[in-house]
Symmetry: C2
Subunit: 359 residues, 2 copies
């Protein structure tokens, strides 16, 4: 199976290719004068070497995980690019999951005021969410992605064969974003995508003709359309991708960045969004029940309050959310079809406190 899509974000064309094999650097570098830098972490180095093949492309290998998503790693990427002699017509190639995608794209966006970037996504999370949409960044002052840019990759490869070695925790992390995408798909009026996810083989094995590959392609298409309609999150479309994330980012901050997988936090956040939507009369009870059942089937921690973490830190992090408007935190909740954005004015702080188990 091979799926190809093209999206245009703020004038930049992003080519998305979901295919079996890891692409070769020669398919990424059309202009052979162009110098390139491969960026990966210790877990994805073998994929980066596969991309490089027998070329002498420069390689920057970072520590793995959210804890490495900091300025030190960005500086290491910039240093490698400078040492390799990349000009502003150089190409940064990020090979890995969401953290590598975000950091490679950020480094490219600020290197000499912007060099090109291509991504090779090797995790489910990166394929269905992080790699597509132009959001880049790193963590600062324990705030996730406090520093970042909008900078779409020109090419995004999703070699599904790379998922064969994905650890169970990473599968679980990516699955939460897949579920999120299925919930917010306003065109999926019959809940077909949610049903497809509920039918997935729990052993997560990628097989030829697999439903999972179709789900990945479907999620990429949905996300691509949303970000194309609203590339810089100034409209009404893109904010919907934030379903579960307002709660999730605060949870990740309060537990300590890197302690939870992003998807575990997102799954918990979707459960809280269901609670909020129910309390506000926006989420129909049967829809909330279906979403909760699907989340439970993938074994996510859904209890409120979350078993670990500090509730004071949580509330502080929630109140410094990036997407505040006029000083108020906004939430996305499931609606009868798709999702709805609820403005901060409509929500009593006591309701949020009750939903996250703060009292």
């Amino acid at each position: 199976m091979k799926f190809e899509y093209t999206f245009t974000l703020s004038g930049t064309v992003s080519h998305v290719c979901i295919q079996d094999e890891v692409p070769s650097i020669n398919t990424l570098i059309v202009d052979h004068d162009r110098r390139s830098l491969l960026v990966c972490d210790v877990n994805t180095e073998r994929f980066a070497r596969a991309v490089a093949g027998d070329t002498d492309a420069a390689l920057c290998v970072l520590a793995a995980g959210e804890a490495a998503k900091n300025w030190t790693s960005i500086e290491a990427i910039l240093r490698s690019a400078h040492s390799a002699g990349l000009g502003r017509d150089g190409l940064f190639i990020g090979v890995g999951g969401g953290v590598i995608s975000d950091m490679t794209s950020f480094a490219a966006s600020v290197y000499m005021r912007g060099a090109a970037v291509a991504l090779v996504s090797t995790t489910l999370l990166a394929m269905v969410d992080a790699a597509l949409g132009g959001k880049t960044g790193f963590d600062l002052f324990d705030i996730k992605n406090l520093v970042g840019t909008f900078y779409p990759a020109s090419h995004i490869y999703m070699p599904v064969s790379s998922l064969a070695s994905l650890p169970a925790r990473e599968w679980k992390s990516g699955m939460a974003e897949l579920i999120k995408t299925a919930i917010l798909d306003a065109e999926d009026k019959d809940g077909e995508f949610l049903a497809l996810l509920a039918s997935l083989d729990s052993t997560h094995t990628i097989k030829a003709g697999d439903t999972l590959v179709e789900c990945i392609a479907r999620a990429a298409r949905i996300k691509g359309r949303i970000v194309q309609a609203d590339p810089k999150e100034t409209g009404a479309e893109r904010i919907m991708l934030n379903l579960g994330h307002t709660f999730a980012h605060a949870l990740e901050s309060s537990v300590g960045l890197g302690q939870l997988s992003h998807g575990e936090a997102v799954a918990w956040g979707i459960a809280r969004a269901c609670d909020l939507g129910l309390a506000l009369g926006i989420t129909p009870p049967e829809r909330a029940a279906a979403i909760m059942a699907l989340l439970r089937s993938f074994d996510y921690e859904l209890a409120a309050p979350y078993p670990v973490g500090n509730i004071t830190l949580f509330m502080n992090a929630l109140n410094s959310d990036k997407k505040k408007k006029a000083g108020k935190v906004r939430f996305v909740v499931p609606s009868a079809e798709g999702t709805e954005l609820v403005s901060g004015e409509r929500i009593e702080p006591a309701l949020i406190a009750r939903i996250v188990g703060a009292n």
Copy 2:
């Protein structure tokens, strides 16, 4: 005298206002819900306090000079913004010269993926060059502005009364960019702008109805038109602003960032561009002579080789120039009217070495 211009760069409208007095924060913050952060250095703190008036706007005071143009300062700005509770609808206000403009705009461009920025320029250099055009950045690995973005300010105030206290060295630095702008003004076929500069009072006192204020306004208009035509330096217009800068950046790197004023380096670089233009038969001898005479009248160091600095470092820095194309450094040289871009293929390395005194 008051001059007002409006330019549109990649969709962002930049309002430029050249006026006598320092503006009040109330004229900058139209939406009063919007939180703001004033950024300045120890030399411009009093102007920042004048902008703030009796409001409790947050203030971030940095060390002054090129040596402070680093990640540590950027992190300090981001920390102040975060502590002050700025959301992505917050406003960063940079009050100072080129370094403060570049760093405040960079921090704003990456804070939560982009907050608004306004600039209050208090030096000649910032007024005639740095504040206008959306280039942001800081220095890394001893390379000037290795890290940066294109991110135009929404409002740029140029309160000429702030120039009264400008040190002589800063005057000299800004004057080089004024001279550069006059040289590249292709519409100034009679050399009227250059003649106006040659007529300037060498004591640099701003007086009501002063020629200097007219020169500042003229330079701002010329630069505004160029950057509007080519906001991201992908066309043929903006590269012309690089006159003298390819040599200047390499000189600054080889002498050590912050040792020379930017303008001193640019003046020397313009002299080298004249040498190159003469050698290539592009710059008419009488035009080169007029430019050199004007530079001399402002007492710039014009000798090649430059009296201080390491020539090996210089050549290395020159060869890692940001604006290389296909691996070749390009140079802008004065032509009969305005300037011309010379591609790297046309230039023997030995010629450059001779011009900068490397052999």
